[in-house]
């Protein structure tokens, strides 16, 4: 190679690496946005190691890498693929080569069977290129098709740093998890400007599709990050719970004791079933210290879905939170559980259900919101999960609540009960009311109290947890302070579980 071509190559490489013009870099910096190559530097152990189609559109003016970086690097020593929009180039919009690059890195991730991260910061399609990038076989539609095909084969993570509008909003939608940066990230099919033009609605960008809204109201976002650095750190941590692909199991880490607390688990569970209790207090006493990695913390918080580790082994926890809405399951919490269970099951992460649930919510509001089909979706996902599955009845598990939380009929590897467990179609108050309403009304008012108290007592004896253990409905009654040890040995024993749920094509999901 002659000296002059070498210089030319270096010059071109340096120009492409700089991305778009200075004014766009400055504009991004004002919003707390990092340049795409800085993001990748933070994301990978040692920067991006392999980059393909770096020269895409290099003969056109002002389109370095055609506005997207695609390549391979390592996270926690594990090889991963990445696509990252460069919003300093035409606002990160998709031209024909942008789309082709994204499709190719998806194909690479599939061939190598490694996770794929989407670092999204894009204004959407380049209308001027629409014939080349929109409708055809390798148009943008193929990106979503590939995402669906990759789903459950390799982890797919979306870090949303800026807009993802219209069709682009489906990239996060098809990922396993979406991390949104507060203030900058947004998702919507139609922008506020478009909404005003087309349907006459006046709305702010935050209300329409901001990070807070999606992470707490719509459920399209899973994790709300304060900054890009925080979002990237989360992605690195999240991946440590996952195997590289569905054919492998997650790698355990060194076991840690739980954090230490003055009060033991036995001390914190209230005797009164109806009094609120903070389920995080239980989780923190059972899992390894600092191992909680919560998903959808702000969305439907009456149900907690979190990754954690028990004795170094990753587990996915689905736990009712009595402190919020009494721990009752709603349409949104059932939907949240279904996605989380599917995520864990796809990548061999064992499931732990912690039940303290009065049942599914009733009333017109939730019936109109379709609580029955959302509940069915959760029960369907939980039934199909073939990973080690442990159900723990912490306090009450009433009605369909018992079923949804992997009750005995749903093939958990075991159903454990704490001594405070209470399993029934409904609680004593409601049951006595339902069965004896006419009789109570017929009694003299001064006789009612004693009658009700007596019937409740009889009812509670009938569903006594030792009776359920005697009938072999629960597999064991465990002292609260022994729960972690019990879970540790059981998860270790169930590690070799091999189960195929079915050989059919697929069920007709109640989605």
């Amino acid at each position: 190679m002659s000296q002059s071509t070498k210089t030319t190559l270096n010059d071109i490489v340096e120009t492409i690496k700089k991305g778009g013009s200075t004014k766009y870099h400055e504009k991004n910096a004002e919003k707390g946005k990092l340049f795409v190559r800085e993001r990748l530097q933070l994301l990978f152990d040692e920067g991006i190691e392999i980059e393909d189609a770096f020269f895409a559109n290099c003969t056109s003016e002002g389109l370095p890498a055609d506005g997207v970086v695609t390549g391979i690097g390592k996270i926690n020593g594990q090889t991963v693929c990445v696509m990252a929009n460069d919003s300093t180039v035409k606002a990160g919009s998709w031209g024909a080569k942008t789309v082709e690059k994204i499709i190719r890195i998806q194909e690479t991730a599939e061939k190598l069977q490694v996770p794929l991260l989407y670092l999204v910061d894009s204004a959407g399609a380049r209308i001027t290129d629409q014939i080349e990038m929109f409708p055809g076989r390798r148009g943008a539609g193929r990106i979503f098709y590939n995402q669906v095909k990759l789903s459950g084969k390799v982890p797919q993570i979306c870090l949303l740093f800026g807009p993802s509008a219209a069709g682009g909003a489906y990239i996060p939608a098809f990922c396993d998890i979406v991390v949104m940066v507060d203030g900058n990230a947004s998702m919507y099919l139609g922008s506020p400007r478009m909404a005003e033009m087309v349907i006459g609605e006046k709305v702010t960008e935050e209300e329409m599709g901001g990070a807070k809204m999606h992470c707490s109201v719509s459920g399209c976002g899973d994790v709300l990050a304060k900054s890009e650095e925080e979002a990237i750190a989360f992605a690195r941590r999240y991946l440590s719970y996952f195997p590289t692909n569905y054919q492998q199991k997650p790698t355990p880490v060194e076991a840690k004791d739980p954090a230490s607390f003055e009060k033991t688990l036995a001390d914190i569970i209230p005797a009164n079933q109806n009094a609120p209790f903070n389920m995080y207090d239980l989780i923190n006493r059972v899992v390894d210290e600092d191992s909680v990695c919560e998903i959808k913390k702000l969305f439907a918080p009456e149900l907690i879905t979190t990754l954690a580790r028990i004795n170094g082994q990753p587990v996915g926890i689905i736990a009712n939170q009595p402190r919020v809405k009494g721990g009752v399951l709603f349409h949104d919490s059932a939907d949240k559980a279904a996605k989380f269970i599917t995520l864990c099951d796809a990548f061999h992460i064992p499931l732990l259900f912690l039940a303290d649930i009065p049942g599914f919510m009733i009333g017109t509001k939730v019936e109109q919101a379709g609580i029955i089909r959302h509940g069915a979706k959760m029960i369907s996902a939980m039934s199909e999960a073939t990973v080690p599955k442990i159900s723990v009845v912490v306090r009450k598990a009433y009605g369909a609540g018992l079923y949804a939380m992997a009750g005995p009929a749903f093939e958990p590897d075991c159903c454990l009960a704490l001594p405070s467990a209470f399993i029934a179609v409904m609680g004593a108050e409601a049951a006595v009311n339902a069965v004896y309403a006419n009789k109570i009304n017929a009694l003299e008012p001064n006789e009612r109290g004693a009658f009700i108290a007596q019937k409740r007592e009889e009812y509670n004896q009938d569903i006594d947890i030792y009776r359920l253990a005697s009938e072999m409905i629960v597999d064991a009654i465990v002292a609260p302070n022994d729960l972690r040890a019990e879970l540790t040995s059981r998860f270790a024993a169930y590690n070799s579980k091999q189960l195929t749920f079915t050989d059919r094509k697929h069920g007709v999901y109640p989605v």
Partner: protein, 70 residues
């Protein structure tokens, strides 16, 4: 000024504070009784209770305003 809303449908079991009282972020204002559970509804900001919109025993639906805090 902030409206404190019911997080779910239920009956007002206890109104814990009085009008004009100073409250802090996270303090329970009203306790609902729903699905046989106590459902505490806490203030989402510190301030004083300008108005209580409900009485004990009232039925409230999800989203109904329970109190105004300013």
């Amino acid at each position: 000024m902030a409206e404190l809303k019911a997080s779910m449908a239920g009956n007002v079991w206890k109104v814990v504070v009085g009008e004009g009282e100073t409250v802090t972020d996270g303090q329970d204002i009203v306790i609902l009784e729903s699905m046989k559970m106590e459902i505490p509804i806490a203030a989402e900001q510190s301030g004083s209770v300008k108005e209580l919109k409900v009485n004990e025993g009232d039925f409230v639906n999800e989203g109904d305003v329970l109190a105004i805090i300013e």
